[in-house]
């Protein structure tokens, strides 16, 4: 990963120095080794704090909505999963494509510090990844963890590939994987209504309405969100009533249905660890099953499943038929 980071830094410097771009969007070091955050670098000096490591899970595409409006070009580092969000935003005319220079970078799966901590490993000062092993350094010594156990949830079932690149920095080959991202959705579907209700009630009652899921979501990028708009009739008031979380999450999931690229940021940022991606994935699975496989963000043009139709589409009353129960 270090070699990748060096190449990225080199390119960022060159682009800024030549004046080809006015800024570079990447990640900068945090207070700890595991909390880098998205940042915009406008000069070579600022690049001192640039970082790209196993904790750079954040999706940078959403920042381009504002950045691409600024004067001068903006260079951005996109991981495979981020490139879908980027395409979707270009499709919706939110990003000015001509103002962006995309550098595709490799990603071999990012780590989840919460999962590492959950393994009883605290005060992490560094990590080293070797195939399926993660060597974690702490003041108390080294610990070796299994990588699949500690990657971000969104990375566990990812097999995305780069969809956009003006150039690419890839040094390590990604192993091919055969994953079923709908496994957990299927598990829920196999439950009874009562069990599913209990499951979601337990999950969503944890929600504190911090709006992190909404704010991080590249599809939730409305100029003004319906939940902030008193004219919508569903505007959220603080601690409105007991129904609120559920309403919020249903509407949110529906609003991004057909547009969600399954980037998994919602679940990554949720402070309450609600598996929000399972809501979006249900829509994705239904869309795939009913209207044919569709991956939002695969291209930057065309209609989404909810803005198109065929004459022989399934009837709403029939979608439950054939369900084993």
């Amino acid at each position: 990963m270090k070699d990748v980071e060096l190449k990225m830094l080199e390119r960022a410097k060159a682009l800024l120095e030549s004046g080809e771009v006015a800024r570079v969007i990447g990640w900068k070091k945090g207070d700890f080794c595991h909390d880098p955050s998205p940042a915009s670098f406008e000069s070579v000096e600022e690049l001192d704090s640039f970082v790209y490591d196993y904790f750079c899970g954040a999706n940078l595409s959403k920042y381009l909505i504002q950045m691409s409006k600024k004067e001068g070009k903006t260079a951005v580092f996109l991981k495979p999963c981020d490139s879908y969000s980027f395409n979707q935003l270009v499709k919706e005319h939110r990003i000015k494509r001509e103002n962006v220079y995309v550098i595709a970078v490799e990603c071999l799966g990012k780590l989840d510090i919460e999962k590492i901590k959950a393994k009883g490993v605290s005060f992490v000062t560094g990590v080293e990844v070797q195939d399926k092993e993660v060597k974690v350094t702490t003041p108390y010594g080294e610990e070796v963890l299994s990588k699949p156990d500690v990657v971000l949830t969104k990375c566990a079932t990812c097999n995305k590939t780069h969809q956009v690149k003006d150039e690419e920095i890839i040094l390590h080959e990604r192993p091919e994987r055969d994953v079923n991202r709908f496994e957990e959705v299927e598990k829920l579907e196999a439950m009874t209504e009562d069990e599913r209700f209990a499951y979601w009630r337990a999950q969503l009652s944890k929600c504190i309405r911090c709006n992190a899921c909404r704010n991080v979501c590249p599809a939730c990028s409305c100029v003004k969100c319906v939940f902030d708009n008193p004219a919508s009739g569903i505007a959220a008031k603080a601690n409105d009533d007991k129904f609120e979380e559920q309403l919020f999450h249903i509407i949110r999931a529906f609003h991004v249905a057909g547009r969600c690229t399954d980037c998994g940021e919602c679940s990554r940022v949720c402070p309450q660890n609600i598996p929000l991606h399972l809501l979006n994935r249900k829509f994705i699975k239904d869309i795939d099953g009913l209207y044919g496989e569709y991956q939002a963000g695969e291209t930057d043009e065309g209609k989404t499943p909810l803005t198109s139709y065929t004459e022989g589409d399934a009837e709403p009353n029939d979608v439950f038929k054939g369900e084993a129960k």
């Binding site: 209700f197 009630r201 009652s205």
Partner: protein
């Protein structure tokens, strides 16, 4: 008299029916002028096209205590606005499937295509839906999701 009071206490569901102006609302009118009865707890909201029905309206109805929500529009291919109900069909198929995924009884939601000429069908559909929701009982899930005290 005693009997009457107990009867009144029996559960009668509150049903919100969204009907498109051109087919289903007219179908409901025809059911009326043909004196084809259906329970009084069905109340109709007129919308220009089934595609005007936002999922938030459906959720709002449940939030406010409706026990069932039914959406009626022109038969696919016969939409007054050419393609409106095709979008409705996709939206509602996904929404209803999703609500069920959240544990909401699938019997509470329905989409039916009723043409202006199908008064009898309108009445039959409403009778059937009311019976279905009555059998299910009160909607509790969409009005309360949080773990309540005492549970």
């Amino acid at each position: 008299m005693q009997e009457v009071t107990t009867e009144k206490k029996e559960f009668t569901p509150n049903i919100v029916a969204f009907c498109c102006n051109w087919c289903s609302y007219a179908g409901a009118d025809l059911a009326g002028s043909s004196r084809l009865t259906y329970p009084a707890n069905v109340k109709i909201i007129r919308v220009p096209c089934s595609c005007r029905v936002n999922p938030t309206f459906v959720l709002k109805a449940f939030q406010q205590g409706a026990d069932g929500v039914i959406l009626c529009g022109c038969h696919p291919g016969d939409c007054h606005y050419v393609t409106g109900n095709y979008y409705t069909r996709r939206r509602m198929a996904l929404l209803y499937s999703f609500l069920n995924y959240m544990g909401i009884e699938k019997e509470r939601t329905r989409v039916e295509w009723v043409s202006a000429a199908e008064g009898a069908r309108f009445s039959a559909v409403m009778n059937d839906f009311v019976a279905q929701v009555t059998a299910l009982g009160e909607n509790k899930r969409l009005t309360d999701l949080r773990v309540k005290e005492g549970e």
